[in-house]
């Protein structure tokens, strides 16, 4: 990726990795992959590979961090040293600290934090391989892991990015497009409540393009949502087979 290609998208609207402008990368999600965690999820979004483990709700340690009126969510986004071409130092970087905060804040509105005061949950996000759009994939997986831990949620949070490469607005940028493109707009969204929980932008867009990109990202979220839901269901699939059977109390 050292040389900048002349065009990121050709005349027919095909991108460097062969996708159309409004096409997502292939997605694979699995729930309940870590038996030691209370809830967990694994996501493969294109070349991104991300593992999420959730612990809690449990008593906060150190205790002074707990809040008397609500549950505290702690989130750690971390990239493995081998997740990118050049070795990444395992120490938390400025970017990781920021992403941890951003992800936490995008998950918080979905959790009923006021039901369990004085407790806390820990969300550990480990990026094993990164290829652009890891914050979005992390949010999608983290929300599933929280649901898998049995923590009550208003809705699952799905995230997807849109952006601008050359002069076209496209969905779900990968690494090269993110770096060489014009703008990037990650959006996290709760589809059933039609609520946006994260909206960021870097780069420059006209108001018209921004609106376009945001709608495209939300449409992308709506496409990911069924896959996300199905992943959660798959873990409890056995129960679904016997739906019609009556369960006695």
């Amino acid at each position: 990726m050292s040389e900048k290609p002349e065009k990121l998208i050709d005349k027919k609207g095909i991108r460097l990795d062969g996708r159309k402008a409004d096409e997502l990368r292939p997605l694979k999600i699995e729930v309940g992959v870590l038996p030691n965690a209370d809830g967990s999820a694994y996501i493969e979004h294109g070349k991104n590979k991300i593992l999420v483990g959730v612990f809690g709700p449990r008593e906060m340690h150190p205790k002074h961090l707990s809040q008397s009126d609500r549950m505290v969510i702690r989130c750690r986004y971390h990239m493995a040293p081998f997740s990118v071409q050049e070795r990444k130092s395992p120490a938390p970087s400025r970017r990781e600290v920021e992403l941890s905060k951003v992800i936490r804040e995008s998950l918080e509105p979905s959790v009923f934090v006021d039901l369990y005061p004085r407790s806390g949950i820990d969300v550990f996000i480990e990026v094993l391989q990164a290829d652009g759009g890891t914050r979005c994939a992390s949010i999608t997986a983290a929300s599933l892991a929280i649901a898998d831990a049995g923590i009550p949620l208003r809705d699952l949070v799905v995230a997807c990015a849109a952006g601008k490469i050359d002069d076209t607005v496209v969905l779900d940028l990968y690494d090269a497009e993110d770096k060489l493109g014009v703008a990037d707009v990650p959006v996290a969204y709760m589809p059933n409540l039609n609520a946006v929980t994260l909206l960021q932008m870097d780069g420059v867009l006209t108001p018209k393009e921004f609106e376009n990109a945001m709608n495209m990202a939300i449409d992308g979220c709506k496409k990911i949502y069924p896959i996300q839901k199905e992943a959660l269901r798959a873990k409890y699939m056995a129960a679904r087979e016997e739906l019609k059977e009556e369960v006695e109390e």
């Binding site: 005061p117 898998d148 809705d155 059977e245």
Partner: protein, 224 residues
Amino acid sequence: MPVFFEKKQLVTPGELLAEGDYLPGENTYNQENKIFASRIGLADTENKKVNVVALRAFYLPKPGDIVIGTIVEVGFNGWTVDIKSPYTALLRASDVLSRPFKPQTDELSQVLNAGELIVAKVASYDRAHDPQLTVSEPGLGKITRGQIMRVTPTKIPRVIGKKGSMISMIKQVTGCQIILGVNGVVLVTGKNLEDEELAMTAIQKIEAESYKRSYGPNHTVAKR
């Protein structure tokens, strides 16, 4: 006022369950007169109430619950107990000794030490205070023998069965004493190891296949 699910349908958090004249029951919430699921589970209606039987949840203390806990710390005038819930419980020394506690003469770690298990009742709990336990009733107190196993707290009613049919059947066939902690911890005490293991396998089986209906008298525990 339609309902958007079939009986016993597997629903995920955020799924719209009903609209209009319904009440939110367990694991559901109400927003703008619409009822949504808040946990993964099986949806059902009971009169006008929409419930979701959660497939995954944790234990929240309720006064009156019988729980099984582990002593984690011996304090100055009591113990802290892990009851597999977001909150650690407190057990007061005066409650266990059933007489005023004298710090000069009573050595708490000789009564109950860290790592020991107790059957206790939740005496009090609310949002602002950690749960208080009590052992001052018959059948409660230190566990001296038996086997401990864990099941998902939401599956405890299933292990009990209709009016206790399931649990009494297991007790009868295996000859074991079984105490079900509402917090998902189960104590099995039998005459020998085989009996205890048989009872535990039966409980595990019920937990794993609790969505099935057909655990009636024709499926005897001894068959397994």
